[in-house]
């Protein structure tokens, strides 16, 4: 299959090359290569008419004027609005679904394998939420020092938005009953739109966390939003940090894994909610990043990764990003820029394709 990787190189250098090597101009015999040609000589062909007969062809490779990683903050803003819209939509859908959750007396919790083995621990959900907040904070700090913040931010917003959108769909179509008798669901407000609206605002302002007392609505079980945040922040932290920081990755992985486990220990979600959330988050993350990193996929005809519905959005966001984002860090204030010496892809020449 054709993979025109050459097409991705700076076009100007290839142009010079082709114009220089035409006509079988003989390279120097015992002169060393590389041969050089300068554009003006070639164009005028005057060197044959009396200018010095030294045959050398100058190939100038100009500095690539194309920025392979343009910042394009406006795209990041669009991605932010996309994510914000989806978050608000999720809150609205949650309010709607809350009305339909069957009362726990009439519809008892479903049988769940994890719940059979492990009894509920009360404080576990707080652990989850603290872990989640710590991971988000770490990611924000990492992003702050990241050189290509706009691109990483854009990707984060897009993925979060899409994951929450999927969540809206699965929450809405079928309503699972509460996973445990301990759950306190706020009373139903049949038809009282004003109060519903207030609920939506309360949920948004508290970010849906129990700690902030905004997690009062029930029905958002399939799939788990907490798992999505924990998994996604960990994936982003790992992807955009130096490969050598294994202790850092391990710590974040532990935070994430313990957080997810505590969701189950607290009997706040069914096991299937967590498993499906992990699956969808990780697959979407890997799918998106593979498409963004491998430029050959963009030109390839048999690339089924483009069959998703969000492919046009992806093209819009990543059209001008021409290489994988290197992980380089710098102080955001430019005059005091010091870059960390550790490249993320330490063995990039050997490893990356």
């Amino acid at each position: 299959m054709a993979s025109p990787e050459l097409g991705n190189a700076g076009d100007s250098s290839t142009h010079n090359l082709s114009s220089g090597m035409e006509d079988g101009s003989v390279p120097a015999t015992n002169k060393t290569c590389p041969v050089h040609v300068s554009a003006e000589e070639e164009a005028k062909r005057s060197f044959r008419k009396g200018i010095a007969r030294h045959d050398y062809v100058k190939i100038s490779v100009p500095e690539s004027k194309v920025n392979h990683l343009p910042t394009e903050w406006w795209k990041t803003v669009i991605a932010f609005f996309y994510a914000a819209f989806n978050l608000v939509l999720t809150t609205v859908v949650l309010t709607v679904v809350h009305e339909r959750v069957p009362p726990k007396e009439s519809s008892p919790p479903l049988p769940d394998k994890f719940f059979d083995y492990i009894d509920r621990v009360k404080w576990a959900f707080t652990v989850t939420e603290i872990n989640g907040m710590v991971l988000v904070a770490i990611w924000l700090i990492q992003l702050f020092f990241f050189k290509y913040k706009s691109i990483a931010c854009r990707r984060f917003f897009f993925l979060i938005g899409t994951l929450y959108l999927y969540r809206c769909v699965t929450m809405y179509v079928t309503t699972l009953p509460v996973p445990g008798m301990h759950m306190n669901c706020a009373p139903k407000l049949q038809g009282d739109t004003q109060a519903k609206f207030q609920r939506v605002l309360q949920l948004i302002s508290g970010a849906g966390l129990s700690i902030t007392n905004s997690h009062l609505l029930c029905g958002d079980f399939l799939y788990s939003g907490h798992t999505v945040m924990l998994t996604l922040t960990y994936l982003f932290i790992k992807e955009y940090s130096p490969k050598s920081f294994w202790w850092y990755h391990l710590m974040c992985w532990l935070l994430s894994a313990v957080g997810v486990l505590c969701i189950l220990v607290a009997h706040e979600h069914y096991t299937v909610d967590v498993v499906v959330a992990y699956f969808i988050t990780s697959r979407l993350f890997w799918w998106y990043h593979t498409m963004a990193n491998l430029q050959t996929l963009k030109c390839s005809p048999n690339n089924y990764l483009t069959n998703t519905w969000w492919n046009p959005l992806f093209n819009f966001f990543e059209r001008n990003v021409q290489t994988s984002v290197p992980c380089s860090y710098s102080w955001p204030i430019t005059w005091a820029s010091t870059c960390l010496k550790n490249p993320c892809k330490k063995y990039s020449m050997v490893q990356s394709s």
């Binding site: 299959m1 993979s3 079988g24 003989v26 390279p27 015999t29 015992n30 060393t32 290569c33 041969v35 062909r45 008419k49 009396g50 010095a52 007969r53 959750v101 069957p102 009439s106 519809s107 008892p108 479903l110 049988p111 769940d112 394998k113 769909v169 699965t170 809405y172 179509v173 079928t174 309503t175 699972l176 009953p177 069914y270 096991t271 299937v272 909610d273 498993v275 499906v276 699956f279 969808i280 697959r283 890997w286 799918w287 593979t290 990193n293 491998l294 996929l297 390839s300 005809p301 048999n302 690339n303 089924y304 990764l305 069959n307 998703t308 994988s324 892809k345 490893q351 990356s352 394709s353």
Partner: protein, 408 residues
């Protein structure tokens, strides 16, 4: 092009023009081919040539050498398969060309042995062994699924105790009794069509391997989601067979019955409840359609639309029969399509068959299995057809006739 030795003075002038050295034409207008070839550096030290040539005739002499070599190559083009040093001008040629090379040195031939080329291996080796392994994998997954369904059946809460969950589709559409039979008929039709198509494919071992692997993995995932959380029955119309608490023999028989019937209601083997998340019927309908579309010629659009209609209507009927929750169907569709596209994209791109920093698709747990199955397959499997067990390959080349246009 005729040999330089046979050139006339006119030919020499034409050649000088062509080489961009028109200034020599006047001086050499009497020179014909052999005279041109006999020019030496010494000739450029005396007038009239010394006047015309600031570099001592170096460039011209070089050009003459190249000309000699070119004609020399042409003479020997149909000769020895082993090359002799061709006069291809390049800077790294080891031939000393500092202007003093005479014709004598040029005559020495250097033998470069070229190893005989091996016959190229097929890009699409059949490797039925690997297909066999994939088949066994799929069988294991099917059997595991049946066992898990049997286990889960024991845990389904009775419908009186746990009513069906609220579902948006059920609110909008009432149940139709005949719908599930339609779904199963559609499913059987699609599987039948796919089987016929598969038999007619040339590279059936590779494609069969892919089908078994993907189906096996999907059913494996299904085992997990079914097992961990048990959804209640979606409708009061369900007749679940009674629970056999601890009676292993009866459970084994039930499992056998289900495998024998393919898990379909039509064959009476779908009497167990609890296998709702996610829907196996949706998986089969979607997957057979994806495979049919992928491995049939692009111009059969009517065939593709027919299969799409069968598939879509079948899925709709699952919901219409209130046999699965909507979320079961949605999740099944999502997982099936993503796995299919993921696998096929990886199989079609050589760059994705190696782990690397930018290839995040390789982080799935089944990547090693995938590499094992697809390591010898180079490139996209073409849609060639061949009657099975026939001595001659019956290429319906129309299938790939427009491949270059289709792809781009």
């Amino acid at each position: 092009m005729k040999k330089v030795e046979a050139w006339s003075a006119e030919d020499v002038s034409d050649w000088l023009n062509k080489e961009g050295m028109p200034e020599y034409i006047k001086v050499l207008h009497q020179t014909d081919g052999p005279a041109l070839l006999s020019l030496t550096k010494a000739d450029f030290t005396v007038p009239p040539l010394s006047r015309m040539s600031p570099d001592g005739g170096e460039q011209l002499l070089e050009r003459i050498e190249i000309l000699q070599m070119e004609t020399h190559i042409e003479d020997h083009k149909n000769g020895h398969a082993n090359g002799h040093i061709g006069g291809i001008p390049n800077g790294t040629s080891k031939l000393q060309r500092n202007g003093t090379l005479g014709r004598k040195d040029f005559e020495t031939k250097i033998r470069i042995p070229i190893p005989t080329v091996e016959p190229p291996r097929s890009s699409f080796p059949t490797e039925w062994g690997k297909t066999g392994i994939a088949f066994i994998y799929a069988i294991i997954c099917f059997v595991t699924t049946t066992v898990v369904i049997s286990v889960v059946h024991e845990r389904v809460p009775p419908k009186e105790h746990t009513p069906p969950l609220p579902d948006k589709f059920f609110d909008l559409f009432d149940r139709r009794e005949w719908a599930f039979s339609i779904c199963e008929i559609n499913g059987m039709l699609l599987v039948g069509l796919w089987l016929i198509q598969w038999i007619l494919l040339k590279h059936r071992s590779i494609i069969g391997r892919r089908f078994f692997f993907i189906v096996g993995t999907l059913y494996l995932y299904r085992c997990i989601t079914m097992y961990i959380t048990t959804l209640p029955v979606p409708g009061m119309h369900f007749k679940c067979s009674p629970k056999l608490l601890g009676n292993w023999e009866a459970q084994m028989r039930r499992i056998m019955k289900m495998i024998a019937g393919g898990g379909l209601s039509i064959t009476g083997s779908h009497s167990m409840c609890g296998d709702y998340l996610y829907s196996g019927h949706t998986v089969m309908l979607t997957l057979t359609f994806l495979f049919i579309k992928e491995y049939s010629p692009r111009r059969f659009w009517y065939y593709h639309w027919f299969c799409l209609a069968l598939s879509a209507f079948g899925i709709f009927c699952i919901l219409l029969a209130h046999d699965h929750y909507t979320v079961d169907v949605v999740v099944a569709y999502f997982i099936t399509t993503r796995l299919f596209w993921w696998y096929h994209t990886m199989a079609n791109q050589q760059s994705l068959k190696e782990t690397s920093q930018s290839n995040l698709l390789s982080r799935v747990w089944w990547y090693r299995l995938f590499q094992y199955f697809e390591e010898n397959v180079n490139g996209t499997v073409p849609r060639n057809y061949q009657l099975p067990l026939s001595a001659r390959a019956f290429h319906w080349n129309h299938a790939v006739k427009y491949s270059r246009l289709d792809i781009q």
